[in-house]
Symmetry: C2
Subunit: 407 residues, 2 copies
């Protein structure tokens, strides 16, 4: 019944089928650009610094005038008026002359270096006494040394972080073009589901996925549109899915746990015009009954109803899909995909033939697997992230190195 794909096959399908989708852009203030994906190459339109700049508080000199200077035999240079911040000095420094210059001040013409103030004595006799020699270029950063006019500074597809805002500000960008966020429609289906504000009666459970998937979508750069809970009725689900496909860039349906629901989700997806089922079942634990389809050019995804399984599948497959659709260059540069290396606290057997995801708690570089049965809350609340055990592995040995993806 299932047409099961491996993790690698699924990755390959995601890469092939959805790579060409390009999003529109919007302009945002650099103050609002954190975690957005840059839509344009950022070039410098100036030399930076735009002038020869002192990197220290001290005295501008011609280096050769300091050669041989020492504490016992300081160089004695005639003091000329000091350099002021933000003002280009109009004089030329002549031989055997020096002037005070603050950090960030512009080096006067004729000077080629700066002696730090610590190595000077000012006896207020019209001269400055410098007890250290410098080489040309000491204490100075030259015009264009940091960035040259026309240099490519940040490439399109970069995820903007705080450091980039400093860079953009220094280049004079107040606004930048970033990719529009893909809108992800989120649908929960299951007769047992109630909204989270309600008190469960009998064997009802709250609709966790609408909330968890929404914040997961936001964390990797998307916007969500929630369609709430839909009963396990074909026509109802079909109507909501059709609407979501029209309104969104990606549609996620997380199924109830009742048997047949997955098939119904599948039937609804198959029923969409021009739909193509790409994956029906992934060889993973948990989360095997995952569906990936393409309908009217958009990804339509059926996630397991169990919120724990849906969480894993989202982290492994959906983040990849969304980042790819955003054209994010370095898929791992988001803060939501940080990996840390740990040692596993115990032997952990795993089934050959499928990839397994195990939530772990990290304490001082030791990762302890959390056994969740089908529990959810303790598993998520106590875990630091999860590890992936490859499909060809028979498990992990105590003390083995593992990579934990933090969540």
């Amino acid at each position: 019944m299932f047409n099961v794909k491996t993790v690698e096959e699924t990755f390959e399908i995601i890469k092939e089928k959805f790579i060409c989708m390009s999003f529109e852009y919007e302009e945002v203030s650099i103050l609002d650009s954190i975690n957005r994906v840059l839509h344009e190459n950022v070039y410098s339109e100036e030399n930076i610094p735009s002038f020869n700049k002192s990197t220290v508080d001290g005295y501008a000199v011609k280096a050769k005038d300091t050669f041989g200077a020492s504490e016992s035999m300081p160089a004695q240079l005639k003091l000329v008026p000091e350099v002021k911040m933000g003002i280009t000095p109009e004089f030329v420094l002549n031989e055997m002359e020096s002037c005070y210059i603050p950090t960030g001040g512009e080096l006067p013409k004729g000077a080629d270096s700066v002696v730090m103030i610590e190595y000077s004595e000012d006896y207020r006799d019209g001269f400055i006494y410098l007890n250290k020699s410098v080489a040309p270029g000491n204490g100075v950063i030259y015009c264009g040394d940091d960035v040259k006019n026309g240099d490519l500074v940040i490439v399109e597809g970069t995820v903007i972080k705080e450091k980039h805002v400093a860079v953009l500000a220094s280049l004079g960008y107040e606004y930048i073009k970033v990719r529009k966020k893909p809108v992800v429609g989120i649908i929960s289906t299951g007769d047992e589901l109630i909204s989270i504000g309600e008190k469960p009666v009998g064997s009802q459970v709250r609709d966790i996925n609408s909330y968890a998937l929404s914040v997961l979508v936001k964390s990797c750069g998307g916007d969500f549109k929630s369609y709430g809970i839909v009963k396990d009725i074909f026509a109802e689900l079909q109507a909501v899915v059709d609407k979501a496909i029209l309104e969104c860039d990606i549609v996620i349906i997380s199924g109830g746990s009742s048997v047949g629901v997955k098939d119904q989700t599948l039937k609804v997806i198959e029923d969409i015009k021009e739909s193509e089922i790409l994956v029906h079942g992934i060889a993973v634990k948990p989360g095997k009954p995952t569906i990936l389809a393409k309908a009217t050019g958009k990804p339509v995804v059926g996630l397991p109803g169990h919120p724990g399984s849906a969480f894993f599948i989202f982290k492994v497959f959906m983040e990849r899909l969304i980042k790819q659709m955003l054209g994010q260059k370095d898929r791992d540069s988001n803060r939501n995909s940080i990996e840390v290396e740990c040692l596993i606290s115990q032997n952990y057997p795993s089934n050959h033939g499928r990839e397994e995801y195990v939530a772990v708690k990290i304490q001082e570089n030791i990762a302890t697997p959390l056994h969740g049965k089908s529990g959810l809350i303790r598993l998520l609340a106590d875990s630091s992230g999860f590890i992936r055990i490859g499909k060809n592995s028979e498990g992990l040995l105590k003390g083995e190195k593992v990579k934990v993806q933090i969540w």
Copy 2:
């Protein structure tokens, strides 16, 4: 002139002087709670699951009725009506009876385990044939096994992540109390500064810090209020600082690079009623001329004007201060303080007696120091994060393990 403190002394001062500041709380939707700091302990007001729940698709049984079952000798049990999702079964399962139950369905009274559907044969003769024995509890998660009514699930002071939203949704929390964000006033001072939209003339430079510090403040849970650029004039700076102290919870003044400005910032801070200078100079490179004061109970901070230095000092000291003022329990649990272990690519000498911060670029677990001179753009744009070289170290040897704080 400086009253220089070590890094540890400064940390200690931050801890002692600002630990008691408590912020008000606000209620937010769990959908808007990511990266906020929880203001309340979150308890479960229910058992979860709230019923004995099947964790598999299969057949509910009394385990003892399956004992001895095998493929050649299956257990033959009378089929009774199936369990429906979300509905509590009203019947009691008797000896030698079984019923279909979906994953997530409620176990009928009398049953103690579930045999997976894979181990069953249904010949439509009114019986189900089970070819595997189970022990009581197999395929079932009991009421309260995940969380019990009254359990503490998430502690106050936790930084909310996506996994917590899943947990909060399952506990029925639509809204939660989070700490109000501390408002950080940001003032740039320096005669050479122009706003970033302007084109620098002569030795003017753009006001990078207003932007960089604003997004850094946001990244660690604060709100910013920007006071723009103030000229190096005592009365003007004083007026803006006084206003900022009234309106904000923390005030940051990033000085121009001109000599005497730091002293002026210092004088302005000293002039505030009931102000106390706690630190004037930290034994670090870069960023030595940092000021930390307490005025009318609030932190007032003088940061270096150089945006690179200000960036480092913010990451090391200001994030700590803001997180502490937010009462964040685990200071390192923010995504902006992820550390990864790398090997250093080359020998790196460092000066004894002060802690040094070095920007590095990471490639495949190798950290390469970036030599910035006083350049800024390449240093920030190309770096992955930074390392700290302790004050008692004389530097690093090629291949040595280092911890890189990602930025």
